[in-house]
Symmetry: C2
Subunit: 392 residues, 2 copies
Amino acid sequence: MKIEAVDFFYLSMPVVTDAGDGSQDALLVRVRSGDLEAWGECEASPLTSIASFVCPMSHGACRPVGASVLGEDVSSPADIARIAATIQWNSMDLLQAAHTWSGVEIALWDLLGKARGEPVYKLLGYQKAFPKTPYASQLFGDTAQETLEFCRIARNNGFKAVKCGWGPFGRGSVKQDADHLQAAREGIGPDGILLIDAGQIWNEDVEAAAARIPMLEQVGATWLEEPFNGSAYEAYGALAPRSGKVKLAGGEAAHNVFMARHVIDIGKVGFVQIDCGRIGGIGPAKIVADYAAAKGVTYVNHTFTSHLALCASIQPYAGLKDHTICEYPVKPQAMAWEMCGTHIAPDANGEIRVPDAPGLGIAMNSAGIKKYLIDAEIRVGDKTLYQTPSLD
Amino acid sequence: MKIEAVDFFYLSMPVVTDAGDGSQDALLVRVRSGDLEAWGECEASPLTSIASFVCPMSHGACRPVGASVLGEDVSSPADIARIAATIQWNSMDLLQAAHTWSGVEIALWDLLGKARGEPVYKLLGYQKAFPKTPYASQLFGDTAQETLEFCRIARNNGFKAVKCGWGPFGRGSVKQDADHLQAAREGIGPDGILLIDAGQIWNEDVEAAAARIPMLEQVGATWLEEPFNGSAYEAYGALAPRSGKVKLAGGEAAHNVFMARHVIDIGKVGFVQIDCGRIGGIGPAKIVADYAAAKGVTYVNHTFTSHLALCASIQPYAGLKDHTICEYPVKPQAMAWEMCGTHIAPDANGEIRVPDAPGLGIAMNSAGIKKYLIDAEIRVGDKTLYQTPSLD
C-alpha cells in the first residue's frame, strides 16, 4: 500500500484555558491509500506539528517529516519501523518531529490493520487483548473539598481507580497537600486505587518530594507520578529507594525509546507511562512495553485526549495480562468526545477492552470533527504549504 | 527593560540541498526594547520554530513560547533565567520550544549587554575572554582524495585544527573509513589537531564504533564525535573505556541542561559540545560549561551557521582558559556570511576572540538579511499569527 495522502485536522474548543487539561484541542491525522482511510492523533501543539510536517528542508538532517512519509510503501509492521528509522535520521535536528510523526505512525497501524482485517494488537504479536482497569484521570480540585467531591463522583461512576493531578498540589505547604490527599482517599473509598500526579512540580528537588512520601504512604497511594522534570532521571533514582510502598511513575515526556529506558534504568520507576502520541507512535511504545515487562516494571498508557488516542495507547500493552492499570480521561472536553463515533466504555465490572475490530476499531465522527475544525493556512514564498483539508 | 517586540526572520539560500550543511537557512531573532535592538539565532527548523512561538495555547503546559516572553522585564541575567524557567513550565509539552527559545534567549543577552555597555561574557561572570583555537568544521569529501584536498586547503588557510564529519564516513567498510582518516591526517599535516564527527551513524551499535578506534588512534584523532544517537548515553558510556587515546565528544542534541549532564555523567565523554541555539541559549550553556569544568570534561561550542551564532556559542566558555578548541564553520553558505556585518577572523596565530564590545558585539547587515529573507505567513481562523516582519 502506498501512502497517498496524509492530512492534518486541527480541532479546538472555542475557548482554551490554561488548565492542565489536554483535551481542549487535538491534532488528527488522516492517511489514505486506495480505498482505505485510517486515523491517528498527535499529543502535541497542532500548529507547530503541522509546520514540522510541511516546512522546507533546512539541510540533510533537518527535513520535514512529510518528506520521509508521503509516497512510501506500507505493507507490514517492518515498513512502519523503516519509515520511523528514516525520520529519526532525516529529521534528527527537527525537535518537533517525534510528536508529529507519532500521529502519522498511529494512523499507519490503523491502515495496516484495516487492510489485513486484524486489530492492531494482533499485528504487534499479541494473541489476545486483556481487559484493563481504567482510572479516572482528573485534576485536583482548587480546594480539598472540591477534590473530595471529584473523587466521590468518579467512584459513583464506577471507577475503581482514580488519579488526581496538577492543580494546587505541591504548590503550597505539605499540610495543604495532605488535606488534598486525605480528601481524595475519602472520596474514592478505602478500597480504591489512588494515584497521584505531581506534574513535575519539584523539578529536581528530591527533598521537597521526599517530604510528601509519608502522607502518600498514609493514604495508600499506589504511585507518585512525575515529581520531577521528565529528564531529571537522577532525581527519580534518588527518590525511588526512599519512597517506601509508594512507587514512582513517569515517562510521559519520552519522545524516543532511549528516554523511556532511562526512566526505567536510571529513574527506577515502578510504572512507566508512555504517550503513543509523543514517543513516535505505537511501534516504539511496544518496544518500551516489552522492555518494561522484562525489567519487572509495569507499563501504563498516558492519555488525556480522545478515545482514538486512548485506543491507540492501549494497543502496545494490550496483551500484557498483569499490566492492568489504564489512564482513562474522565472529563474530556466535548470536542475530544464528539470527534469519535466509537467510545470505549467500562463494562459492568468497571473494566475496558479495546475493540476487537480491524485496525484501531474506532469510527470517526465527521460531524463532530467539522464542528471543532480550525481553519488554518501556512504559506512560504508563493507556495501554500498547508491549508485545512476537506473532510470529504 | 520591557521586551517590546520579538521578530523572527527566516533566511534561506535559494536552493537548499540534503547535504549535512546547517548554513543553508537560518532563523534570526530581533528583540526590541526602547531604542535598543538586539539579535539572536536559533539552530532549528525556521518555520516550525516560528509556529511554536505564535501558535494558539493547547493547555496550561502547552503554551506558545511567545506568551512567556512578550512584555516581560529584562533588567538582569536573573530575569533571563526567570523567563527560561517560565517557559520550561508553560511549554513543557511543546517539544520545539527549546529550539525556539534559544534564539530569543541569545538576543536577550545581547540586549542586556548593550544596555549595560558590557560584553556578554562579563555578564556571565567572566573577567576575561581567552582566545580559542578554531577548527575548520567541514564535511568529509565523497572520496578520500577529496577529503585530502579539503584538509590541505584548511591547513593552507591557517587552521591548526580540522574536523571532518558526515559524508561517507561509517557508511561503508572499515577500510574505506581508514582511507578517509589517513587522507585527513595527510592533508592537515602531522601536527594538526584532527577531529572526527560520525554524525550518529552507528545509532547504538557499540561494536561498529569500536571497530574504528584502532585507526582513529593510529591517525592521532583527538576525538570521535557523535558515534551514536544523541540520547544513547549508555552506548557512549560503553565505548568510552574502550576508546584509548581517542576521547568521545557529544552533546549537540541536548535541548536542556539535564541532557548535557547525562552526556557527561553517563556517556563519559571527554568533550561536551553544546549548541546555544538548541539548549535554550547562553544561560543553560554556561551552566553546562561550569559543570563540565568541575568534572574535568572539556567544553566545546557547536556551531555550523553564522558568525552571530558563533559569537554567541563562545560566550559560555569564553573565560575557561584551558578549554581552547572552538568549532568554526569554514565554508558557510553566502547567506550565513552576508547576514552579519562583523566577522570573527583568525589572527596571525590562528586564534580567534569574541569582540570586546557591548552585547555580542556583532553588527547585522540589513542588505545581507534582505537578500535571503523568506516571505512567510501563518494564519489561524481570521488571525494572522505570523507575517515576515519589516527589517526597518
